[in-house]
Symmetry: C2
Subunit: 135 residues, 2 copies
DNA sequence: TCATACTGTAATAAAATATGTTACAAATGT
DNA sequence: ACATTTGTAACATATTTTATTACAGTATGA
């Protein structure tokens, strides 16, 4: 379930933070990530749905932040790109006639929920500004 | 990068904990996970390499725990099935001529290292016995 | 000693997911 | 008008994960 979604989204947002006054084109952003511009636009569509960025179509169009980078944390960005973090489940439904098979996913779910909570606390302490300032 | 490896391995180990005196066959285990027995044997090969289980070939063969389930934690199991957990990296090498592209993977790496440490601490508090006793 | 039931492992196939490409309508600045 | 850019769909390719088949090797016990 883990893809480059979070990394790409953070990369986009870091660039937008670095150029707060410009509408950056998907082509420009894609050049920094080394990724297809269409995929950049898809991630941006997701960010727009969460009202984190705003875009302008047409010539000289592009995308810029719609929020102050000190007012958004990595937890929120994480929430936009992942359901939850987990260590995976077996693909097929385990055997419900086995006591272990019957409860394994439930028990893994509890474990993963704990993990998520810890990670969320940690990510909630880091703002986009904190992250971007490292560059 | 996340597959069902951890979940499958935990499932196997929970079964072995529940039947500490038996050599369980890959077929039996596969029936509980609802997974191909060859894949079960592959995960068992990994556990054997880490000296967590022992196998017996031939008729009435199978696999049993080689350690006391109260002496092994989920952290160790995690370490056998994952390199590290992370929220992913973009697939392609980012543009080294961009200040953000140049450092993005390094900075994500630092973030992910922190996350891993937290998860490890948490998983190190849960033994295989603790986990198995829930079933 | 022979049939049976396992492990171990390789080779290959299929399925699922992720990434990439092409295409083009719609919007907007100059 | 023209150039440039977003938005989005449709399709193609690549990668990863899971499944299957096959079979040599090993132990058990009738």
């Amino acid at each position: 379930m883990i893809s480059g979604k979070f990394a790409i989204t953070i990369h986009i947002l870091t660039l937008l933070t670095k150029f707060p006054n410009d509408f950056l084109s998907s082509e420009f952003i894609a050049g920094s990530i080394n990724l297809n511009p269409v995929l950049v636009r898809k991630e941006i569509a997701n960010l727009k749905a969460h009202h984190i960025v705003e875009s302008k179509e047409g010539k000289n169009g592009g995308t810029k932040l719609a929020v102050n980078p000190s007012n958004i944390t990595l937890k929120e960005i994480f929430g936009m790109t992942f359901d939850t973090i987990n260590l995976g489940y077996a693909k097929n439904t385990p055997n419900p006639d086995c006591p272990v098979g019957k409860k394994i996913n439930q028990n893994l779910g509890l474990l993963y929920a704990d993990i998520n909570q810890k990670i969320s606390l940690q990510l909630d302490d880091i703002t986009l500004e904190d992250f971007s300032i490292q560059f």
